[in-house]
């Protein structure tokens, strides 16, 4: 895969892809799930978000991929203040974000190939303009032989790699993953991690929420640690084992 031109452009123009300024979030009238978060991600960086279940990892990701709004504070993504962007521009922002979920969220009525092609079709591209790209991407994640398969017939690791392929097919500027290795074995976790690392090497900013400490330790990347909705620690990169 070639280097992501959008990510490269973002990297050259701004000192951050994402910035949280005093961000808090609550669901309805409930207690705050996230409290006073302040951090920023540089273009091309690779971060893990760790924390116990309920610490707010998924909520933080929801704020970034525009599935939720903060109750307080400002979020800047790609230099845009998310609190003021009009609703009709949100899909354009979302197209610059790739999201991978623990439960895959594949469309069961589509083949693996269709699932990966989905963001490109939504973006309005003609099939002939991306047919080969999708095939190459499926080969990249090791699913060339399964491109005609329906998701229900795929193993957990295959589903997750398919979800990753769908998340990156648009060459996103930022790739978010919510417990991407939660449903796969250790070997597959490492394989999936390698895909994220490769995407990062191509210029995509990567942010992975996980409680898999072994995965974090192996990667040696920066870690944002959440506890009770607060950012309690920001660990610098560690030497990789």
């Amino acid at each position: 895969m070639s280097r992501n031109p959008l990510a490269a452009e973002a990297a050259s123009q701004a000192d951050h892809v994402l910035r949280f300024d005093d961000v808090s979030m609550r669901y309805g009238r409930g207690p705050e799930t996230l409290r006073d978060l302040n951090f920023q991600l540089e273009p091309g960086s690779f971060h893990f978000i760790t924390g116990a279940s309920g610490a707010g990892k998924s909520s933080l990701l929801k704020l970034i991929y525009l599935a939720a709004k903060p109750s307080k504070g400002l979020i800047h993504l790609f230099g845009e203040d998310l609190s003021v962007i009009p609703a009709n521009e949100k899909p354009l922002i979302r197209r610059r974000i790739g999201v991978v979920f623990q439960e895959f969220r594949l469309l069961d009525h589509m083949t693996a190939f269709d699932n990966v092609a989905l963001p490109l079709r939504i973006a309005g591209r003609k099939p002939d303009s991306y047919r080969q790209d999708v095939a190459e991407l499926l080969a990249w994640v090791g699913l060339k032989h399964r491109m005609h398969a329906m998701p229900a017939t795929l193993a957990g690791g295959e589903k997750q790699r398919l979800a990753i392929a769908r998340a990156v097919v648009n060459r996103p500027d930022i790739l978010l993953a919510d417990e991407p290795t939660g449903n796969v074995d250790h070997e597959m976790s490492l394989r999936i991690l390698r895909l994220f690392v490769e995407m990062n090497r191509l210029g995509t900013t990567v942010l992975i929420a996980t409680h898999d400490q072994d995965l974090v330790a192996r990667s040696g990347r920066e870690v944002l640690h959440l506890a009770d909705g607060r950012l309690t620690r920001h660990d610098a990169p560690r030497p990789r084992p």
């Binding site: 069961d108 989905l118 939504i122």
Partner: protein, 298 residues
């Protein structure tokens, strides 16, 4: 070429939404029934309107004169003189005096058989056929009778034609109201189905959102799906109503099954726009519902 390459070469994009399921089949049936009822209503209104216009035309093309004989003439001669006078009036095609028996038959429902009561002064009647293009008015006929010294009362059936026109108007309004209700019911059913469909496919909507689809894009998917479904349902409903209409026409010959509902072949064309109309109602209902619900989901 490998199997994978062959697959890529012949790949065609799948539908964004899952294929129709049993719920959609039930919805198609309900909308088809509603379309069938709407088409039958339309055919009924058209036939009623034609019947009313037919009766009205018949009545306005005729007038009846009640002739009272003067002291120096017999009822028969008075009626004959009136018929002769009226035959010459402009706008009258034909005037004929009715026989005594016909006059007695007309009063029989009230007086019974009076044929043996020679002394009872039963008024004679003159039936007048008016020129359909330029019919004479009641005033014309009355003036002509007065000019010839004939004592007669002109009945141009105005009271009946007004009643028929009022009845026909009521039938039209009633038919329109029923048609509107059925259309509203179809819209409500589609809106309900859209809501249920969106809720059932919430996961699909979320994935489409995350993949960069905007609300309009997703709403349009549901709009197209339900419009197509309604068009198919409308086709079945219209075909069913057309078959019933054709059956009535065939069973009844020229005048339809009954003179009350005379159906002609071209009436069946009235059901032709049904699929289009059903699709339009469904498209509007689905779009409005989907837009609102997707906004809420987001």
């Amino acid at each position: 070429m490998s199997e994978a390459d062959a697959f890529v070469a012949r790949w065609r994009p799948a539908s964004f939404l899952p294929a129709a399921d049993t719920r959609d089949g039930s919805l198609t049936f309900v909308v088809a029934v509603l379309c069938f009822l709407a088409c039958l209503t339309a055919l009924g209104v058209i036939a009623s309107d034609r019947a009313a216009r037919g009766w009205s035309d018949q009545l306005t093309r005729q007038a009846t004169i009640i002739v009272r004989p003067k002291a120096n003439e017999t009822p028969d001669s008075a009626a004959a003189r009136a018929a002769e006078t009226l035959a010459g009036v402009k706008g009258v095609s034909e005037a004929r005096a009715l026989e005594k028996e016909k006059a007695e038959a007309l009063v029989a429902p009230w007086l019974g058989d009076i044929s043996d009561l020679d002394d009872l002064p039963v008024p004679r009647l003159v039936a007048v056929d008016l020129d359909p293009k330029a019919p004479a008015t009641a005033a014309d006929l009355d003036a002509a009778l007065k000019a010839q010294g004939v004592d007669g009362v002109v009945d141009d059936h105005t009271i009946w034609t007004a009643d028929i026109a009022r009845s026909a108007g009521l039938v039209r309004w009633f038919g329109g109201a029923v048609f509107g209700l059925i259309a509203a019911a179809a819209g409500a059913v589609v809106a309900f189905a859209t809501r249920a469909g969106l809720q059932a496919r919430r996961d699909v909507v979320e994935v489409l959102h995350l993949s960069g689809a905007d609300d309009h894009f997703i709403a349009r998917l549901f709009q197209v799906r339900f419009a197509r479904m309604a068009a198919v349902a409308g086709l079945f409903g219209a075909a069913g109503a057309a078959i019933i209409g054709a059956g009535l026409r065939l069973a009844g010959g020229e005048g339809g099954l009954t003179p009350v509902l005379p159906i002609i072949w071209t009436d069946l064309l009235a059901v032709a726009p049904c699929p289009l109309f059903a699709a339009l109602v469904a498209a509007v209902a689905a779009r409005l519902t989907a837009e609102g619900l997707i906004r809420d989901m987001a």
